[in-house]
Amino acid sequence: MNEQVKEILSRVAVETLEQLAFIFSSPEDGPGEIEYDSLMAASVSFAGPFAGGLVMTVSPQVVFELAANMLGVDNEETTLDQQYDALKESMNVICGNLLPAITGKQAVFNIGSPEIITGGEAIKEATEKYNGRSPTSMVRLDIDGEQCVLFLFGDIRITGE
């Protein structure tokens, strides 16, 4: 089942980044190193047929591109506020598309407001435990040599079509 969730998470993240911000990514296998200190991160919680959270750590270069592409401006032209906003909204869209892909379209979830996590230690903690529990699945994406990792937490049950 974990493999199935992982596949759905990976597919939804890749499709969302592409459709939302023209960012092309490919899933990577293996554990790999995560450089928490140099990353940006955001989390979003959800509640419904099951509750949990989604955390994404991502290279700043990817976030610059995310914000610039969403706004239709050059990479150097975005502010930190816009970068944070773009990261949060991307999390919101990934989470909103992920849950029905797992449970089917009848289930009703409430998605919380995405939050930015700052500081290497806090980011590391957020990726390790959510409500005292380890991630249910983790997906690593390669974006032009830059890193993006998603951690899904919760008692995830596949019930969808």
């Binding site: 969302t16 459709q19 939302l20 914000a67 969403m70 706004l71 239709g72 506020d81 816009q82 906003d85 773009a86 949060k88 909204e89 919101n92 869209v93 989470c95 909103g96 598309n97 849950l99 029905p100 892909a101 379209k105 009848q106 289930a107 009703v108 979830f109 998605i111 407001s113």
Partner: protein
Amino acid sequence: MAINILIVDDSSVMRAMILKTMRMSGLPIGETYQAANGQEGLDALEQHWIDLAIVDINMPVMNGEEMIDRMQENPDTKDIPIVVISTEGSETRIERLQGKGASFIQKPFTPEIIRDTIMAITGIGESDE
């Protein structure tokens, strides 16, 4: 005839993206107004003439569904066309919003979907042939 548009979304980047997409699609846009939650959206509706409201669902302070309910309770705003642009994926909720007369577009969207939905709900472009 240019239409005045109100865009309500808690993400300023998303608001800019929706506006950019609408401009690109060649819709005749008049004045545009922005609000970061349902309450600010209702305030903007009181202050300005709005022909079309674009409304997100997940927002702090007042969510989009409550804003739509309030718009429908008010004779001044109940006939304003509404397009919900949201990550909402639950058919149960989408049908409830459509039952309130709103059109629905799921994020992420394409420029074509925005253009076609707005043309259909406002009737713009129908008499151009």
